[in-house]
Amino acid sequence: MSETNGSKSFTSTSLRLKVGLAEMLKGGVIMDVMNVEQARIAEEAGATSVMALERVPAMIRAEGGVARMANPKLIKGIIGAVSIPVMAKARIGHFAEAQILQELGVDFIDESEVLTPADEVHHIDKHAFTTPFVCGARNLGEALRRIAEGAAMIRTKGEAGTGDVVHAVQHMRQIVKEMKALTVLSEQELYAAAKEHQAPYELVRMVALTGKLPVPNFSAGGIATPADAALMMQLGAEAVFVGSGIFMKERATPLDVENNPKEREEAVSRAKAIVAATTHFNDPKILAEVSEQVTGTMKGLAAAAIEESQLLQTRGW
């Protein structure tokens, strides 16, 4: 494969390898974990990857303050404890955090609205990294802008830390609807479509030809139950991220998986059920069985009750 078009071509070795790892994660569940024990539970339950964090979004939302990249010590501990890929979050625009995460050997970097943005204008130039990036999006234009910057995977933003799937649904429906609409446009209409979506014409044209994003399209932000995971998969997600839904008890209190066997069992049952539901997303009989096996569910926070200024999804552009 020639790289004469520069590293930004979809046939470039670098981007093929980045998208290649995203391909391997399809049909699976990526779980937020805050310590080694949670990471082990996630792997044991069948997660395809773990997202190493100091605080899950539900805690960040409840506790406030500036949310930053996790401590490298925590990330290294988790990398050493599991054999599946490890992801970690960098703040929007904080390329120095991303450089540190790449240096640590993180397999995927999430440039995430869940953390406090570090740049109000620029996202990270993701082409400059060997490590692949995933970014959140609420609509097609946002998704394509992130892909133009080098993202190898898109996820819906949803509203993280709520356990309320309503915004993940809204964002996935929006992206799918806008992709479908492009497929019926004529060549000459695509230029104006690119302007409307505020996205590069070449990417808009790729979507118009194929009806899908040029990188895998996953879902995140409020997925808390096996049924939520199945819903997002049926709406077109190719895999799901589950953040606060597995290891949280109350809004800002995690289950004590290290000392309390009963709470550990509860986390295991949630994790296993969501994994099974993601594979069998189209099989209501199995979905009913696995939903029954879940003990307890994250209490959650209705997204409609959150003030506009407190929404995480409006970060990034």
Partner: protein, 212 residues
């Protein structure tokens, strides 16, 4: 099986790049079928175990006697595993030690080349006709050793990357992520050359017959 008919080949669809394999099979003259339950193995002419996370697949297989059903299937039918699929087929798995189907006489080490940052696209000579082959390695395993009945069809730094043992094929790279369809065509031909009966009557040269 007649040359004119398209064999029905299953793709294990627990998770991973099963869609890429399905597309590669379609382009190689076979009809793909997604397999998520043991009973779906019934009547398939062959099976592909895709790339993905081998631990995730293994945890899933250990429920509802899927592992045993798959092992029985692989003992008599043509199977092809890439990356995680190759790990599942191996006789022995290292780093960490984990259970496997044991239908390929090989010892495999997981994530042997490092993390994602060490993933690479390389080219190597192959015994398949048509010159060197592109090999897409993603957090790839390494085949440390193979038994005497295993044919090595491509290598990386001396270690086997594409192998065949009777009806079983395995690659530590991802031919489904390349546009070159020679590996999938070789597997589809192997499926065509295998009698539908459960007996093992593999014609050694069936995979080399050349494609229309």
């Amino acid at each position: 099986m007649k040359e004119s008919t398209r064999p029905r080949i299953g793709v294990l669809a627990i998770q991973g790049d099963y869609a890429a394999h399905a597309e590669a099979l379609t382009e190689s003259g076979a009809d793909p079928v997604e397999v998520r339950k043991p009973e779906q193995l019934e009547g398939l002419d062959g099976l592909i175990l895709p790339g993905g996370e081998s631990t995730t697949m293994l945890k899933f297989l250990e429920k509802h006697k899927f592992f045993e059903a798959l092992k029985a299937y692989c003992a008599v039918h043509p199977v092809f595993g890439t990356c995680a699929g190759a790990i599942l087929l191996a006789r022995e798995v290292h780093r960490p030690v984990q259970r496997s189907l044991g239908v390929l006489d090989a010892v495999v080490e997981r994530n042997a080349y490092g993390r994602q940052i060490d993933s690479a696209i390389l080219h190597a000579d192959t015994t398949l006709p048509g010159g060197p082959i592109e090999m897409v390695f993603i957090r790839a395993p390494r085949i440390l050793s193979t038994g005497p009945s295993v044919e090595v069809m491509a290598r990386r730094d001396g270690f086997a990357t594409l192998v065949r043992q009777g009806r079983v094929m395995a690659a530590t790279f991802h031919p489904e992520l390349s546009s070159d369809r020679r590996v999938h065509r070789a597997f589809v031909e192997a499926v065509r050359g295998t009698p539908a009966a459960s007996e093992v009557a593999w014609c050694r040269n069936a995979g080399r017959a050349g494609t229309p």
